[in-house]
Symmetry: C2
Subunit: 339 residues, 2 copies
DNA sequence: TTGAAAGCGCTAACAT
DNA sequence: ATGTTAGCGCTTTCAA
């Protein structure tokens, strides 16, 4: 177990009685090699407990086999405060990377001291994937120049860009409002920021408006106060709504975190969900499984999102358009059965 | 923007009119260099948009500045199914790594095809951190040999080992039962596996037993059926408990996922929490914030856990003993106020 | 304080 | 099919 000199391909070559380059060939699955030679090399490598040094290999090869994943959190926040949605997406991206034989170099970036995106120039990664909260302005300001380049993919940045990958928010809004209508609701409100920090919310809002108009119904948005976490925003928005006696029997929240806070407020006010009011969220976070009641929601296809993100991070030509990731309705219990 | 040849330290040297090694010195903060020279070099580097190639630097230096993080998930499971607790811990570890100027190389390993832990031998990392579910036996069997070595740290492996880092489960159990007793409960049951897959659960159980005995009270464990996810296990365990009319007014669950499932069963059966029965979980997952009612729980100090994990992964001498991470009670609403 | 030179361990182009 | 050779871009002696 002691600081023995690293075993190199030269050691293996000696042991196998071949040249060093043959070792390289044998181990990298080059097909111009005799099965017998390969077997000898593999055996020698095994016996010596040899592993290819990835730095040397990548330095020489000039490619990295690595994708960098940058997760942006709220400034000053602990990593535990990161939206579970982004953790799920991170997990999907790591899985996708791994399925493609890539390494994932992950960094959580919340505060300016941590901002960094030199992975490509420094040879650490072939591509960069940016995910995380849109509300950390300094972080996005720092990374923004990146987004115009190639080998970059981002999920739901605050910017409107080619190459941007997001949920199919318009279809999602239709799904949500249709579900609410199917349950017999007509006075359906949108709860969430309709513009500003999060372009996706704007898309969801416009999708909601379109769906309502298409059904010949009126539409209203409840804007939560800024400067609070999403849960608090949702609670506050519903409390405000309750106070101003606007009639409503359906609520489409811009995201699950808002919806969960809203559910708390509804329950505190004694409004029965789903009997009196139907609620649909957006994201598919785990917390919705055990909320009161469990939250019916829309979620994107995480695997597909991850696939597209990795694909684009690896692509060497600039993306031509935004991509929309398919969404699906997750039935739980905050909307009653269709009547 | 075109495939221009990489800019190297030689280019910078030429531009600054110094030797290549001086560039290296200037940029790596070596103190034997004139401030004037350094300034020239830094300026030239900036002008050329030069970044040190990390592979070359690390190959030469022989160290990596990287810690590998392996997250073990349930076999066959999507990354979205990973326990949020592990995501929180992952986030904390990434933050800690970043605070120490280390890169984090993250891999999610669920199925045998993904098993891999050669990061140290292949020069990719200086240390390895293993976290994740204990129930993936093939994964832990694969990684087990690692755990006896140096430069490895694991959170709550299924094994009893030196170097193992876990919550202070015994103190946690005392905290939980004391809180329940303070609310006036006496018939407090432990719900969860008491042995088997998860040694931490055993420790929590024994801590519970000790606390109950110390208070002169009886103790009982409700073992959930095996072969279900934690949420289902919790629900099933409580349903079974309800069916067999054992009297109880307090429940200490071995983890939040179990508790959340249990809460669902309690609510379905019309048992009021916290009025009729007090409930305490363990982990501090977000879902507990919006459950019905919000779940009072115990959580470890994630930052400290991460600190210890990274510390140990970097340590070059074998660990002498297990470490216990401090825990705290998170008051929410599933236990009534002390009377 | 700086430059020259060696070499980290590997892959790939070129021979044979 | 395999060996020889030349670097990948850097850090670090060693000399000056």
């Amino acid at each position: 177990m002691r600081k023995a000199r690293r075993v190199t391909s030269i050691d293996v070559a000696e042991a196998a009685g071949v040249s060093q380059s043959t070792v390289s060939r044998a181990l990298s699955g080059c097909d111009t090699i005799t099965e017998a030679t390969r077997a000898r090399v593999v055996e020698a490598a095994r016996a010596l407990d040899y592993r290819v040094n990835e730095h040397a290999a990548r330095l020489r090869r000039g490619s990295t086999g690595t994708v960098a994943v940058i997760v942006i959190g709220r400034a000053g926040a602990a990593p535990g405060a990161i939206n579970p949605f982004h953790y799920k997406l991170l997990g999907a991206v790591c899985a996708e990377a791994s399925a493609r034989g890539l390494d994932a170099l992950v960094s959580f970036q919340c505060d300016p001291a941590q901002f960094y995106h030199d992975h490509i120039e420094s040879g650490q990664a072939d591509g960069i994937i940016l995910i995380g909260t849109t509300v950390n302005e300094p972080a996005w300001a720092f990374h923004e120049p990146l987004l115009k380049r190639t080998n970059i993919a981002s999920w739901a940045s605050p910017f409107e860009l080619n190459g941007e990958i997001r949920s199919d928010n318009s279809r999602a809004a239709h799904l949500a409002t249709s579900r609410l209508m199917a349950a017999g609701h007509r006075a359906i409100l949108f709860v969430g920021p309709t513009k500003g920090d999060q372009p996706q919310f704007g898309e969801r809002y416009r999708g909601y408006v379109a769906a309502m108009e298409q059904a010949g119904l009126g539409h209203t948005a409840i804007e939560p106060p800024a400067d609070a976490d999403r849960g608090t925003q949702g609670r506050l928005a519903v409390e405000q709504l309750l106070a101003q006696d606007t009639p409503f029997d359906g609520l489409f929240f811009a995201c699950d975190a808002l919806a969960l806070g809203g559910l708390d407020a509804l329950s505190a006010a004694g409004r029965a969900v789903p009997e009196e009011v139907g609620v649909v969220g957006f994201d598919g976070v785990d917390s919705g499984q055990h909320s009161n009641p469990p939250l019916t929601t829309i979620e994107p296809d995480f695997a597909e999102a991850a696939r597209q993100l990795v694909e684009r991070a690896l692509a060497s030509d600039p993306p031509a358009f935004q991509t929309r990731v398919p969404v699906m309705l997750v039935e739980r219990a905050s909307v009653r059965q269709p009547r």
